[in-house]
């Protein structure tokens, strides 16, 4: 049985404009999965549904053997954490220390244990020197790392990144992606919600969402074999493949160059 099992969920704010339609998806423990889709495809709504911020109109979500319901939602939020897009709007504490503590305070972790964990996880995300800083003194990337530390301190099994890199500059984005890989290597389940293929290619498995339902899914190699899928889903191909396609149209693509471009697209 998979770790997260989503069965036929439907969701709509307005009956005439459904956001999620008959969406089914299962995610295994320890997997790094990317959920890709263009703006308005329903991918962020899916993230909110998994964490129980939205209740689907139909369908069920099972997480670690528990069915998501108003009674189990608090248990499930102890297992799955989420990092949102805007670093500023999820920083609750007055200082880095307070923010990392926020989740643990909610769980009722004793003070001594909390202080120990704050030190440990701040060190882990490289924010130990900033513990007493206020959010206004931090960059976007640093704030996202603080959010991750807060989730790690709660001993989560899985982290959802809901476009968590989209407001960061390229360097900070690269750093965060490297860091996410580290977390994955340590056994965490990673669910990455993004509209950026380059970013999605870091994942083991890609799920493309279109019009509120799963459009295609598979490993990156499988999906990249038919690049047209991405275009149909309203996404932009990786630069390497765009060049490869353009050259193909001009009949100027050697086998060697094609291989090279493929490799450069996949190399992460």
């Amino acid at each position: 049985m998979s770790y997260i099992d989503i069965q036929n969920i439907n969701f709509a704010y307005h009956p005439k404009r459904p956001i999620l339609q008959n969406l089914s998806l299962s995610i295994d423990k320890g997997q790094w999965i990317a959920i890709l889709g263009h703006n308005g495809s329903g991918k962020s709504t899916l993230a909110k549904a998994i964490i129980g911020l939205l209740e689907p109109d139909f369908g069920t979500i099972d997480i670690d053997g528990m069915t998501l319901s108003p009674t189990t939602v608090y248990e499930i939020r102890k297992k799955i954490g989420i990092v949102f897009q805007n670093p500023d709007n999820q920083f609750v504490g007055v200082t880095v220390r307070d923010d990392i503590a926020f989740g643990m305070e909610n769980l009722g972790v004793p003070q001594a244990e909390m202080l120990e964990k704050i030190d440990f996880y701040a060190e882990k995300v490289g924010m130990k020197a900033f513990l007493d800083k206020e959010p206004a003194e931090l960059s976007g990337g640093q704030k996202q790392r603080v959010a991750i530390a807060g989730i790690l301190a709660m001993q989560m099994d899985a982290i959802i990144f809901d476009e968590a890199t989209s407001m960061l500059d390229p360097t900070a984005r690269r750093e965060l992606m490297d860091y996410i890989r580290e977390l994955h290597n340590e056994g965490l389940t990673i669910i990455m919600i993004t509209h950026d293929i380059e970013e999605a290619l870091w994942a083991q498995r890609l799920v493309i969402i279109k019009d509120g339902t799963v459009f295609r899914q598979g490993t990156r190699e499988e999906l990249l074999k038919e690049p047209v899928t991405f275009i149909e889903a309203g996404l932009e191909l990786p630069v390497g493949l765009q060049i490869s396609n353009a050259l193909k149209q001009m009949n100027a693509l050697s086998l060697e160059l094609e291989e090279h471009l493929w490799e450069s697209s996949l190399k992460k």
Binding site: K48, I51, L53, Y74, R77, K78, G81, I82, F84, N86, D88, N89, Q90, F91, V92, G93, V94, R97, D98, A101, F102, G103, M104, E105, N106, L107, G108, V109, P110, Q111, M114, L115, I118, E134, P135, A136, E137, G150, I151, M154
Partner: protein, 320 residues
């Protein structure tokens, strides 16, 4: 706009900084009550002396306290003028006939212009103001010449002066006390202290923890929102809006064009923040643990003793 410091807190490490915020809040309230029990000018002067000694002992920058008094100049001045003009008790200290004539009016206008020209010396603004008042007095008393239009009598009684001194010093003590509190206590500590003190109110349905969380989140978002306001102002200025000039009506329109987007953004932010808090297991009203613990130490004992002594002293002088 970044790094806006909220409240007046200035980092330091003297005695006052290490007192439990609860002790500090209660001590300030008790000392204020004690101040209001005092009845004569000599008593408030002694009270003010004690306050000064505490400030110097606590190494609180006096300059900052003086700054804190600024918004109250008008109130202090009003008290002074009111007491001098209407208090008719005691012996007369000054009884002067003031004369108004075309000449004296001209002189007064000239004095006003000179005073305003010198207003750029901000450091001496208070001193200059008093010099200006003395100047006006001198002009009306001595520089009238003829033709006299009218005269009036300026009579100052000693009790008027004493009472105004009394009221002003009492105000000074109270403001000094509250300024010392806000200068030496972080806003977060203050809210935590308040929360702890308001905890008994849970019996009547007021959840002080939620209240404290609301305050600390508001404090945390003030710089973010200011930053946002700045961005919107810049965006609007780049499209020709002018916040500094224009008639009052234009200004009101400008402010509305700033407030509407600010409100929308603030609501969006709070919605996202609520999601973030909920996903991190926040449940309103559920008991939480704290990383910051309030602990009493020997300093709190000393503070309490001094406070009680001051209160006892003021009760004693009232009874005797």
């Amino acid at each position: 706009m970044k790094n806006v410091i909220i409240g007046q807190y200035i980092p330091g490490s003297s005695f006052f900084y290490h007192i439990d915020p609860r002790t500090k809040i209660i001590a300030v309230v008790v000392l204020m009550v004690a101040t209001f029990l005092l009845e004569t000018i000599w008593q408030v002067l002694i009270g003010f002396g004690i306050a000064l000694i505490l400030i110097i002992a606590g190494r609180v920058p006096i300059r900052k306290i003086v700054k804190g008094l600024k918004p109250l100049y008008v109130l202090l001045l009003f008290t002074l003028v009111f007491q001098i003009a209407f208090n008719r008790v005691g012996t007369i200290v000054l009884d002067a006939t003031m004369q108004i004539s075309p000449f004296s009016i001209l002189f007064m206008i000239a004095a006003t212009i000179i005073w305003r020209l010198l207003a750029s010396f901000k450091k001496f603004s208070l001193l200059l103001f008093f010099a200006y008042l003395v100047g006006l007095f001198f002009i009306m008393k001595n520089l009238a010449f003829s033709p006299l239009w009218t005269t009036w009598q300026l009579t100052i009684y000693d009790q008027g002066l004493i009472m105004s001194g009394f009221v002003i010093i009492r105000l000074l003590i109270i403001i000094t006390l509250s300024t010392v509190l806000t200068l030496t206590t972080k806003p977060t500590e203050l809210t935590q202290g308040l929360e702890s003190l308001l905890r008994p109110l849970k019996a009547i349905g007021l959840n002080s923890e939620d209240f404290a969380l609301i305050i600390s989140i508001s404090l945390r978002y003030i710089p973010t929102i200011l930053d946002e306001a700045n961005k919107i102002m810049n965006a609007q200025a780049s499209r020709g809006a002018d916040f500094a000039e224009g008639r009052l009506k234009d200004k009101v329109v400008q402010v509305i064009s700033l407030l509407v987007p600010m409100f929308i953004i603030a609501f969006k932010r709070s919605e996202e923040l609520a999601d973030a808090m909920e996903s991190r297991n926040f449940v309103p009203g559920k008991p939480r643990t704290r990383i910051h613990d309030l602990k009493f130490n020997y300093r709190d004992l000393i503070t309490t003793v001094i406070t009680v002594l001051c209160l006892a002293g003021s009760i004693l002088v009232k009874v005797l």
